[in-house]
Amino acid sequence: MAGGGNSGDARGGRALLRIGLGALGVAAFVALWDAAYVFNWAPRGTLPDPFAVPGALLAEWRGDRLLPAVGSSLVHYVWGLGVGTVLGFGVGLLSATSRVFDDAHYMLARILRPIPPLAWVVFAIAWFQVSHAGAAFVISIGVFWVNYFATAAGVRDVDPRYYELARAFGHGGFIKRVGSVTLPGAAPGILSGMRTGVGQAWMTLIAAELLGVPGMGQEMNAAAGVGAYDAVVVYMLAISLIYTLSDGLFALIEKRLLRWRP
């Protein structure tokens, strides 16, 4: 018992030390940033005072710009992430389970895959004009590829001996096989891809909104246009916060779904 208590104390102490060092790292970064501001290491007027950021946050909040921008970005995010995830998962699953489909689409995939999501912005504007759908479309492309490759690789990596087991115990049909072996066996890879997609969607979101769709990207663009770089930082920190929350939520779901792992 005493040993267990000591071990628990040691873990608690290590956690506190980690938090302390982490906070120190953030403080050092802010100090460096402040020094850069004070000594004008960046072109004058392009680097905000870090201590002005709380005031800028208050101004964005009171100006009724922050929450609508966050809400609008979330609409793009949820649609883009949802559509990209579902399609990427579906096409990835099909490519790993159907030889004919895999043969029919692999060349097309190799042609399209290297094209960055943002290269589709011009088509997004042409097809959807400057709209929520256009931003969601651009986001969904990046998310699609992440999920497509993760799902296809995850399914291909499932131990083939489990398929023999499925056949031996009456689960040889496609639906039963996929439900009892393919999806649970590939779940670690699929969920890892989905989690990457959750992050990827945020990366693409802001750039997609720079085309003028209301959201945090547009607000950042507008603020930078009038030299309000402290407001730009407010939106950057808002993105960081929302990403951390969404990633944390997904990590909880992932942990729950993969609780069978040792």
Binding site: R161, A168, F169, G170, K176, S180, V181, G185, W260, P262
Partner: protein, 240 residues
């Protein structure tokens, strides 16, 4: 119970069959051990009999009149092959889908076989939380849950330590004595074969054939140190 006639199998792309012309039968409730060296095709025979792979020639006939809630054959794998994402109960009940059993009947069937293998309390555990011997018992329970008329066992105890192996052999014999299904037990361990089986067949050659097929000359229950069994084991070894 099972009749195998002129069975042959050639792996895709292979020039020669791994075995050909195999003839043997297994009577209802009979325990038959199939012995042979590594790579001779013992496991392939089992897969042919179970229908997991299609023979290149010959045929296997079994009654194929599985009653409701049963399967004609059930397989116990060498590597246990428990699905890591299903709890022990769900692994045991894996073969019960599609057999026309109600949910209550499935629950009762799972309880029945978990009790039979002495793991009634292990149902909620994940496979990674049981030992190698326990995992092998669960693999056996999964097969027993479908009330098979023929149990196909592919070197099921080869990966456990000697003590656990002897214990599992005795447990298997006790279960077989109570349920009396036919068993085709593949092993490379002659002592195991003569201790467990009513009859021992030896598979040898390339392509392989059954070169020895005799009843074990001892009344049950077999004793490990029975001189008759040991003499029989020497005769089996002579044919390997």
């Amino acid at each position: 119970m099972l009749e195998v006639r002129d069975l042959a199998y050639r792996f895709p792309g292979a020039e020669a069959p791994v075995f050909e012309g195999l003839d043997f039968t297994i009577g209802a409730g009979e325990f038959v051990a199939l012995v042979g060296g590594s790579g001779v095709g013992k496991s392939t025979v089992l897969r042919n009999v179970s229908g997991l792979i299609r023979p290149s020639g010959g045929r296997t006939t079994s009654p194929q009149v599985a009653e409701r809630g049963t399967r004609d054959t059930a397989f116990v794998f060498q590597d246990t092959r428990l699905l890591p994402w299903r709890r022990i109960r769900a692994n045991v009940g894996y073969g019960l889908a599609g057999l026309g059993l109600s949910r209550a009947e499935k629950r009762a069937r799972i309880d029945e076989v978990l009790t039979l293998i002495g793991m009634r309390d292990f149902g909620p555990r994940w496979p990674h939380a049981v030992s190698g011997g326990q995992a092998q018992r669960v693999g056996l329970a999964r097969a027993l849950a479908v009330h098979p008329r023929l149990l196909l066992m592919d070197e099921p105890f080869s990966a456990v330590d000697a003590l656990t192996r002897q214990r599992l052999q005795d447990e298997l014999l006790e279960i077989w004595r109570r349920l009396r299904m036919a068993v085709l037990f593949v092993t490379h361990d002659i002592a195991e074969a003569v201790y467990l089986a009513d009859r021992v067949c030896v598979l040898r050659g390339a392509p392989a054939d059954i070169v020895f097929d005799e009843a074990v000359p001892a009344a049950r229950p077999h004793r490990r140190n029975d001189p008759d069994l040991q003499a029989f084991a020497v005769r089996v070894a002579d044919h390997l």
